[in-house]
Amino acid sequence: MNIVVLLRALRDPASFSVNRRAQKIFVHRDLHRLNPADHNALEAALALAGASAGGSVAALACGGEPAGEALYQARAMGAGRALWVKDEALQPADGAVVTRVVQQALARLGGADLVLLGADVLDADLAQVGPRLAAAQGWPFVEAGYRVRAAPASQGRLQVVLAKPGGYQAVEIGLPAVVSIAVDSNKPRYPSAPSIMRAYADLQALDVVSPAELGLDQAALAARVDRLGESFPPERTFGERLEGTLGDVVAQLAARLQR
């Protein structure tokens, strides 16, 4: 089974702060990290490939240097191949553009039986790429899978377990397919120290291409969504303290409950 995992690097929450009064983000350090749910998706892919004979994992990311870093991390964790669609402009790209890039990249990787990606993205969280890609390819899509494995009974199908309120639900889908993986599922393995050093020492660790090399022109890369600005709601305050004698407090509480 050829599995492709989509990875997205984003600004580390520890590297910026939000000033609500100024309605601005202040970036302290240039620090990026792999989107947490993508990390879980990568682990799910490695575990699934490890469990099936002839399984392979290719990691795919688009953007600038942080995307490359995410791919090195994937190689160190055990992904056999990594494709970096290198273009700074793709870092904040919208779902439609990313979907087009991924479609072309899949062709370059020689197709895929399964595409995995994180169900949540820490910053924008628009949840667009998964369903868009599935629709464009005409493949089934399952959202927020908790566990993926080869379907026990039927050959060439995939079982996806979803977390539902009060229990789990198992669904079966045919391949090829797109499955997004729930954050906090599939605890990622740690790359070993030797494999980290080897990944960076390997000059062929990443296959680097430009969007143009994938046959994408400027029109294909034009965003559909315009970014007008950012707005931050006021911080929520929790609770209210009722003061006074016991009788006062009870009376105040009753008044509030009646309101």
Binding site: Y190, S192, A193, I196, A199, Y200
Partner: protein, 388 residues
């Protein structure tokens, strides 16, 4: 000048930070409380290649050099100084002596197991009558046929009770003594006649077992001579020189942990109607801690760079250990003061950090010895040779 870490070292740190925060930190209090090293996490660390970070991949190491090793020690000591001490003794002095001076055959025999954590190493130098005066060792090795027989005692040996291999310095020629008459042996601890004493009851580093090692006619084949016969003292001194750099890195981690804990606390704790972060007396302590830590970081990683680029580093290594251990002691002491009564509570980690930090000024060469090393290097530069 480029002060950035290479991408692979940054990635190594990221992995270590995650591992230490998520896996090691939750176990640190238990390790201290029970006085037992956590075998499960040590096995896991072995699988992740953390027992051989600086050594070349040819021998099963990670090939991350001294800089990578300093990153390891800094991150470990941030969360669990006991575990850091186990790794420090294992890599920094035991396996390092083999890596520096062992024959290719001896390295092939033992380093892969050491790097994978399948064998834990210890470094046997100190004796009841030979501490700072390391040349006064008495443990005797006598050649009979194709093997040496070791007789005597080592003391205060980190990893003593859990070691599978001990690198031991023994006197092979009493007429010459340590200078020319001492030799290093790799001793497998399952050899008849070897025994480790009970773990010492220490003030800190409770999870890092330290003990006496008894050698009662322990037979060691000739092939297990590490380096050249008679030149063991040189091997051990060279090993200690390089070990001081990573020890500085460990103290850096301890000092940083103290500062980070303090920063969290001064924001959370209010007195006189506002967070204590507003008090200038607190701010001065934070500023002093941060400044000393930054100075230490620069010294440690520049010295690691000297090591990795084959430049002379002995003076700077002594400085790493000296400045590092004193900085860590000062920082954790200030952190304890900032935390007030909570600082001395055994329910909270500051007290453990304070107990764990103090040995830094003593082991692997007391700070007085470091000052002698630094001074002798300084004086040598102007042509003056001093003798202890």
């Amino acid at each position: 000048m480029d002060f950035t870490f290479s991408p692979q070292h940054a990635a190594l740190r990221r992995m270590l930070r995650d591992f230490c925060q998520q896996e090691l930190r939750p176990r640190a209090a238990q390790v201290d409380h029970t006085g037992q090293p956590d075998r499960e996490i040590l096995r896991w660390m072995g699988e992740l290649g953390l027992f051989g970070v600086p050594f070349s991949q040819e021998y099963g190491g990670a090939g991350a050099g001294e800089i990578g090793y300093c990153i390891l020690m800094e991150e470990l000591n941030r969360v669990c100084p006991s575990t850091a001490a186990i790794i420090g003794a294992h890599i920094g002095i035991a396996a390092m002596s083999l890596y520096l001076d062992g024959s290719p055959a001896l390295k092939r025999k033992y380093l892969p197991d050491l790097c994978a954590g399948r064998a834990i190493g210890a470094f046997g130098l100190t004796e009841p009558n030979a501490g700072s005066d390391a040349a006064a060792i008495q443990l005797r090795a006598t050649l009979e046929g194709d093997a040496y027989f070791l007789d005597g005692q080592k003391m205060w040996i980190t990893n003593g009770p859990i070691a599978d291999l001990v690198m031991v310095l023994a006197v092979t020629d009493p007429a010459l003594g340590a200078h020319g008459g001492a030799t290093v042996f790799v001793v497998e601890t399952n050899t008849a006649g070897f025994s480790a004493g009970k773990p010492e009851k220490k003030m800190g580093l409770h999870g890092s077992p330290t003990s006496v090692l008894n050698f009662d006619d322990v037979r060691v084949p000739k092939e297990n001579v590490l380096g050249q016969v008679g030149l063991g003292f040189v091997t051990f001194m060279k090993t200690l020189d390089i070990g001081r750099v990573s020890l500085g890195a460990a103290t850096l981690g301890g000092a940083e942990a103290a500062l980070q804990a303090s920063l969290r606390w001064v924001k959370a704790r209010s007195q006189f109607g506002r967070p204590i972060a507003n008090m200038q007396s607190i701010q001065f302590m934070l500023a002093d801690m941060a400044t000393e830590i930054e100075a230490l970081r620069s010294l440690v990683y520049r010295t690691a760079w000297l090591v990795d680029t084959d430049r002379p580093f002995v003076k700077e290594a002594g400085m790493c250990k000296l400045l590092g251990s004193e900085t860590a002691s000062r920082c954790i002491d200030r952190a304890l003061q900032i935390h007030g009564a909570l600082g001395v509570s055994r329910e909270f980690h500051i007290e453990r950090g304070w107990r764990d930090a103090r040995i830094g000024e003593i082991f692997e060469g007391t700070n007085e010895i470091q000052r002698i090393v630094i001074a002798s290097e300084l004086l040598q530069e102007i042509g003056v040779r001093i003798r202890p």
